[in-house]
Point group: C3
Chain length 262, copies 3
């Protein structure tokens, strides 16, 4: 059985917080491979963590356990949970961080972690990443059954998935993530796009600009030119070849983007 | 036997320095798990490395070897050492980087690494992280005895531990670390705090402000409000719920913090 | 057989891109150790990636596979390649990123990856790090023969290696890398330096300054003083003890540096 635990947090890499989580995990299961997804989530930005987790989890093998900790309510009454989608599991706070997972797997089983014997004996109230989520994930990776951790939670916090509005003539979406290269990734999927355009002329509109074709990849246009591609997460993306679209076009995580049939 | 090596350095993640250390370690012991504690220590900031190492090492299992390299004197006469506290070991320069370890384990055994056969054959004078500390840690992890590396060092550089002044009526401490969230962590421990307050009214004073209670966690106050908690390292911490206390209150690593009985 | 895969990219650590690559690798070979060399290469900066790879690869054991992805031409006709130097292999785009490897091993065998069965089934055109290079490296680490991936490529893009001009009386070189500490590392090697200086007096000139001796290490001069050392990559380096030479002396990656016999 594959034993991989991934970590997604807003802890940064400066403090020793992520290291302490790994120490706890390896102390319980020394045979696990720990993979960092991102620790640079802006502090308390649950939505960004939810999005980044979604773009990555599909590329991990069966059995992978994903720990996600962006947890402004740490130590309050918000439950700690395990989300089981069948061949992968997720561990974190019940605050919407698994919004995209629930969307992909509406029938996911959610467990409320109430059994303290799987947490660190000295349970702090400000660092559940280290004291709850890390040890629970490690015990899961050793084969402890989900039901040992606590009862099912029937109404978890579903959280927010940014969805585009799709009609017959247009799609109204928005930028949901700007990556390191300045690519502005939208919430408009390839299938949504194809459904309304299919062979017809279209314009992808944002700010006071537009693009009227989809390119296959960045290098298909000349350097410095703006283009639209279906990016690596399967979503429509506005880019500048060899440049930073977000900076040069003034796009950020809330910028509206529309697709309009001409 | 658990084979974990942690790394704490001021090398950053931009250059390939940390990667080269890992290559050396894995070339000697391919079965080791390498965990990064932090590589973002400010250049030459031995005190910060000493502090971060202290907050993390306790969460690692028996047998873990911690390599810490903030080493302004690299290549000079300062010894390279192994500090053995019984169930964990530390490898690095003898410059005070293990100050907190010596405080926790006054009887720790210190070995002066003089046996060059455990270093890389081509020993540079500017990168002992790669050429001395990495291979020594890897050999330790394979079971090489401490005494093989060199003689005992009876008077290592103890270094500096920032300590609060505790009297019957007050504690005079200071901020010793500001974390990614802007939490200002002090050198006042929970036990010191309880010893002088025990049931009485108190004020925690800093700059021209004060807090007169301890909260359990950030979410116990409204967003934007200043609070004091006993943080995840067991130390008194000034925070702003959902905000950055250091930025908004003007706290940094030297700001004095006092606890006063009213 | 050692199973190490290193990663050098311009993907940064903010997005989940690197994590997705690791998920793909571990899904194919769960027994591999993955080591990050750097993910902070400036976007599209092939030269910097080539240089950093060169300073690190020699410290990895036989059998290591190095994946390097700085790939402005992703999804265009540029080949994906495997470079085999005998005891290590390199996987990445054919765009000059392996320039220093070709210089060290002029007889390296280059394979053009044409067999799509070793790529992810859903092959994006914008993220070959995840869809091509990661799975190819993982299959290589499992023992798949080089010839299975495609035919030999006889004329790969050699790329650019920054070389110093060496005459009998002087060397004209330049800064090729500024590290985290602000050390300005040049393209002048120790052997080039010794060849022309021999026992004679010399000046190392840059901007309107010069240094007339080589120190063994930073701490050999007083704090704040400028010095020249033969750094950990075996190259002449301009440093400031306890300071940042690049900032304080105004050196960057193109600054000319000369060695002149007096």
């Amino acid at each position: 059985m594959s034993s991989i635990i991934t970590l997604t947090t807003d802890f940064g890499l400066y403090d020793g917080y992520v290291g302490a989580m790994k120490g706890v995990i390896l102390g319980i299961n020394s045979n696990v491979s720990i993979v960092d997804l991102s620790h640079e989530i802006p502090p308390q930005d649950i939505q960004e963590a939810a999005y980044l987790l979604w773009t990555s989890y599909r590329f991990f093998p069966r059995g992978t356990i994903h720990v996600a900790v962006v947890d402004p309510g740490v130590g309050t009454e918000r439950p700690a949970i395990i989300v089981d989608i069948g061949d992968q599991r997720f561990v974190g706070p019940d605050n919407g961080i698994f919004a995209y997972i629930y969307q992909d797997f509406p029938g996911a089983t959610v467990t409320y972690i109430t059994n303290r014997s799987y947490c660190l004996p000295q349970l702090s109230r400000t660092f559940h990443g280290r004291d709850v989520f890390a040890p629970v994930a490690a015990h899961l990776s050793r084969g402890t059954k989900r039901s040992e951790f606590g009862p099912e939670l029937s109404t978890p916090v579903r959280g927010e998935v940014s969805s585009a509005l799709v009609t017959r003539d247009y799609i109204k979406g928005q930028v949901v993530h700007v990556d390191r290269f300045g690519n502005a990734i939208t919430n408009i999927s390839e299938s949504q796009f194809l459904r309304i355009t299919g062979g017809q002329s279209f314009r992808i509109e944002f700010k006071d600009m537009y693009v009227d074709c989809i390119n296959d990849t960045y290098g298909d246009v000349t350097a410095g030119e703006t283009l639209a591609v279906m990016g690596s997460a399967g979503m429509l993306e506005i880019s500048v070849n060899g440049g930073n679209a977000a900076h040069s076009l003034g796009l950020d995580r809330t910028t509206p983007i529309s697709v309009v049939i001409e």
